[in-house]
Subunit: 753 residues, 2 copies
Amino acid sequence: MATFTDIALSGGFNILFVFVFFLAFAILRLQPLNDRVYFPKWYLRGIRCTPTRSGHVASRFVNLNVETYFRFLNWMPAAIKMPQPELIDHAGLDSAVYVRIYLLGLKIFVPIFAMASCVLIPINLTGKALSSKDNISFSEIDKFSISNIAPGSHRLWAHLAMAYVFTFWTLYMLYKEYKMIGSMRLHFLASQDRRPDQFTVIVTNVPPDPDETVSQHIQHFFRVNHTDHYLTHQVVYNANNLALLIEERKALHNWLVYYQNKHEKNRDERPQTRTGFLGLWGNRVDAIEHYTTMIEKLTQEADMERERVVSDRNAILPVAFVSFKTRWGAAVCAQTQQTSNPTLWLTEWAPEPRDVYWRNLAIPFVELAIRKLSMVVALFFLTFFFMIPIAFVQSLANIESIEKVFPFLRPIIETKTIKSVVQGLLPGIALKIFLILLPTLLMLMSMIEGFTSLSTLERKTASKYYFFLLMNVFLGSVVTGTAFDQLSSFLSKSASKIPVIIGQSIPMSATFFITYIMVDGWAGVSAEIIRLKPLIVFHLKNTFLVKTEQDREEAMDPGSLAFSASEPRIQFYFLLGLVYSAVTPILLPFIIIFFALSFIVFRHQIINVYNQEYESGAAFWPDVHGRIIFALITSQILLMGLMNTKEAFQSTPFLLVLVSLTIWFHLFCKSRFEPTFVKFPLQDAMMKDTLERATEPNLYLKGYLQNAYVHPVFKDGEDVCSQILDEEERRPLVTTKRIIHNINAGTSKGTFV
Amino acid sequence: MATFTDIALSGGFNILFVFVFFLAFAILRLQPLNDRVYFPKWYLRGIRCTPTRSGHVASRFVNLNVETYFRFLNWMPAAIKMPQPELIDHAGLDSAVYVRIYLLGLKIFVPIFAMASCVLIPINLTGKALSSKDNISFSEIDKFSISNIAPGSHRLWAHLAMAYVFTFWTLYMLYKEYKMIGSMRLHFLASQDRRPDQFTVIVTNVPPDPDETVSQHIQHFFRVNHTDHYLTHQVVYNANNLALLIEERKALHNWLVYYQNKHEKNRDERPQTRTGFLGLWGNRVDAIEHYTTMIEKLTQEADMERERVVSDRNAILPVAFVSFKTRWGAAVCAQTQQTSNPTLWLTEWAPEPRDVYWRNLAIPFVELAIRKLSMVVALFFLTFFFMIPIAFVQSLANIESIEKVFPFLRPIIETKTIKSVVQGLLPGIALKIFLILLPTLLMLMSMIEGFTSLSTLERKTASKYYFFLLMNVFLGSVVTGTAFDQLSSFLSKSASKIPVIIGQSIPMSATFFITYIMVDGWAGVSAEIIRLKPLIVFHLKNTFLVKTEQDREEAMDPGSLAFSASEPRIQFYFLLGLVYSAVTPILLPFIIIFFALSFIVFRHQIINVYNQEYESGAAFWPDVHGRIIFALITSQILLMGLMNTKEAFQSTPFLLVLVSLTIWFHLFCKSRFEPTFVKFPLQDAMMKDTLERATEPNLYLKGYLQNAYVHPVFKDGEDVCSQILDEEERRPLVTTKRIIHNINAGTSKGTFV
């Protein structure tokens, strides 16, 4: 059992890690060579550019000003200083609201910890239940927890009362935050410049018409049913093949540049390559010539495909972006049902052009329903049975089978030290690889489900990931075993016994979670700031692929917040904090440090590094809110189970009331605030329309909207991965394709259309 | 245990009852005196009128034509003969769709029974598990059931396969029916004449404005935000007090007429009454004078109140009926969010004027949320703890306490026979009274929840009632005991054991449910056709209150379908049928007879008797569909439990798949069909608008809509209970107030505003 010394030691180590990371960050970021890795956002905004070539040669690569190293933590106040309106303007509402989740964590848990230290910790410490026992199988941390209270003690009423206080405080904070973010969103939407998506609605499931083309049919339909408001529309081409071709060409182009650079450095020798897979086998050919001809061939193919797509009637999908003369007209069309058959002419607000996920636009209604069903089933099996294939891989990936397949490795493996290392690592590696691939896998599942915008894809993936974390990490750590073990054991146990079983293990897992918070939370967050992977990738690209300043611009990878993977992990800390607030409040300071650290780090990152692929206007907040509520209810039910093992049966009805109140609060907030995140009120639309008519009476809106929603492959014939020229957005944007590329890397492209 | 003879005897008795009822009906309805009781609908439609005064005196009261008595069942073919379009035209879509629920029951269960008799009954009969046992504690019915199959037998695969077949058949029928009723609704809405509710939206939660009156504020808001579409609006006055006064005067008026009639019959004596409660005590006064002055006083009060309401600024509620120039404009306003605060300016389709429940119009948003929460809690306690107050009343209502309160009754009660009767009846009476009052109580709860239309009130009450029936009647009969016993026993049992416990009791309850179906179903339905209560009430009123032909018209009570109480009971038979279809299919013919009988009886009633208070366009169908799906899932889970007790564990995953498929089907149907029942498509609105503009270019719509939504007390100053003069409806309608009167009878009026 962990003693205080253990915890302190582990804490010391982790604090050391954090400081090492921060020091490394301070040193690395001060080197001009790394400037594009640590300040890409400023480059993208055009405020910063590559250090001037004048001056000492070394100073272009290494910072020789010793003084700057002493102020190595001064990025922290700088990160906090930027006021919120400026931050929203600089990084977008999505990012600004995202860091507020950490702030919300602080707002909830600092007062809760203060209250708990005044009331619960003294009560627990003087409980004496543990010291009187003979067995010593309890950690010292447990003395601070409810475990130190004797069963049936009247002191448990204090825990019950504090559960009420904590719940009400959390709900109050949640209410305030929801209200605040709702008004931030409205203000953000109201203050935005003119954007194509304000006037545009995406129409899916356009029924086929024997006499008209899709385009004509759409035009007639909206001319008739939105007579005064319809302006124009853009059909969507099925350009998935074309996009693949262009993507392929991009990869070849990178190889070409690589060999050209190589040739430039060594003029005497022409670089060679093999024609087979990855240049590993096949005939030797001249690399530059080979790639030049390959690229030419692909360019021809792409041109043919482009012509085919544009001229082929069947390449037009039954989907369109329909634009209206006014925001009011678009708001009306997006919120109403068009025809008596609710599976046809479905209208929705168009996501902004960067946010569109083009591949999923053409899925018919019935197929969508089937895809949803299959993904729900898949998620269930993934969560509860993921250990089965991993165990299978593990059973294969033992030394004997490796020796069978690669007999030439035998002499190396049979070495004793290597053998033990391989045997120790192999089973873990399979699991680790799975866990690293998991967010990608879940994103793929969301894609198969058929959502049509990147923001929705990220939100749905986050939900799936949270479910997985909850079942496997939280329950898996509390009641040891995989989710599948728990599923079968819970099914065979009484419904009212389940919270009791989990509840009584809760205090015992406190020390484990404290260590977990320090390793995964503290060290993980401070590792984030070093950006090790982008650092390496940038320098590799810079060495081999960069020729012009524009190439260098492209080699830069600002990254983004990766909502789908990181939000569920924040939620996990909310869950831990709420569950332990009334049980082992001594865990809270660790969580508070995590939230504070994360707040500073991520605020710094969104100011200096990340560049969001899209802007959804904080559309994810209802999900964040809902999951915190869920964590709150979980904590109440587990406390109920715990109280039962403490023979405080009278507390059950009180906690049931608390659960009902929390659910009611959620429903209330849902009806009160959620529409703000889903609908667009007519009053605001009318206001903006009126203002615009007054200030710009001669605006030629049709021209403005004409090409706003064109598939990226048609927008920029030369390079699909270059930036989309969104005329209205003054700052350059990264194309929507990048996130998809990241995700697709390593997954079969054929599995979804 | 019930043998075949028992069942046959019980069946014989019940069939006898049915015939007696039908015979009584045949005799009663042929008497001209009862014509208004059995054919009120035709009177209301103006097609039938009181038999002519010419001819034999006796023939005005008694039918002397013997021949007609022999054709005493000829109303049955007549009831079936009317084709559906005519029926919809005659009785409205609500009623026509309501009887289709019975037809759906036949469509589902007749083929299921046919399949079951070919496959399951032979398999069960030759099972021999029961005959081989020593104990004889099984009924002969059980030989037809799954009980006769030995545990672990391979024959159980047949039951599993049939569960699949039955499920798919039911789902297919449900899908067809949903589609059919959706298109019936659309066709109905499209073919309707111009009605005020097509152009009108109800706006609630209008925020207060310091500078403007409510009316001005509404006008300005809609002028600005629906510039091209806003036409006019009507504010709502808080006339609840006025309505009470006028109601009271109506009651006094009835008494006046009663005494006037009495005086007319006996000119010598002026009738007298006492001034106290119900004329039971107080000073003796001349009755006619007394009531005349009372009525005058109330009329004055009502006039003052009416003036106060109209002139008082505070009597205007923050609610209005806003009308638009086109159906398109109204459809847009009803489906969109108006302002950034989603709790203000809430818009919804206006219910038709008859359907408005005026009392609930002014409940603020937050209060609504609190009311909903408290009613959910109340329903929970009502369902699970209703036995507690009843047991308390029962403990009070014993002979000893009656003797204490009414000592003068002692000699009578102490008589031995009376004593035993009282002791036997008293406990049952308390429960019976509760069950009779239950639908009223549930309706009251729905009213407190704050729904604003009668159709919604009825639908929500039906949901509550179904929940109660399910928990207390179904589970209560299968696993003997009250719902509360079950709740506590289930909570203490394993989640996967619950279906097993219920499942294994299912076959044993078959004989009980067969008897239940015959008594409650067969006899209950055939008793419906006699209309005993309206028959008595009509003759009482006819004798004492009727002076003019118009009075007679008012004395007629056509009644209505009482969706809130009768639909859950149909659903109960669906549940029984589906649960027993794979277990004891011999129960199905009893249900089939119930559905057939009900179909004929209710089709006759909606043609000749009932007069719907409102027309919701079958808006209740999604509820009906959802509850049948729920019954289906229940049946699958219970079969799973039963299979487990039969050691057919392999069947569990198959049945889980079936459950998932059923849930998925439900979600699919929900997204496919439900919008038809909730929204109004813009295309249809535009079509009707265009047509109207072409056919009636000079229509003065504003005048038509001006007074459509006026509180009934202002519409008819003389008599609130008389018919609302809905200009467009050609057939006379019964006021919306009547149903409320029925419901309010016996409940405190002060509990809701």
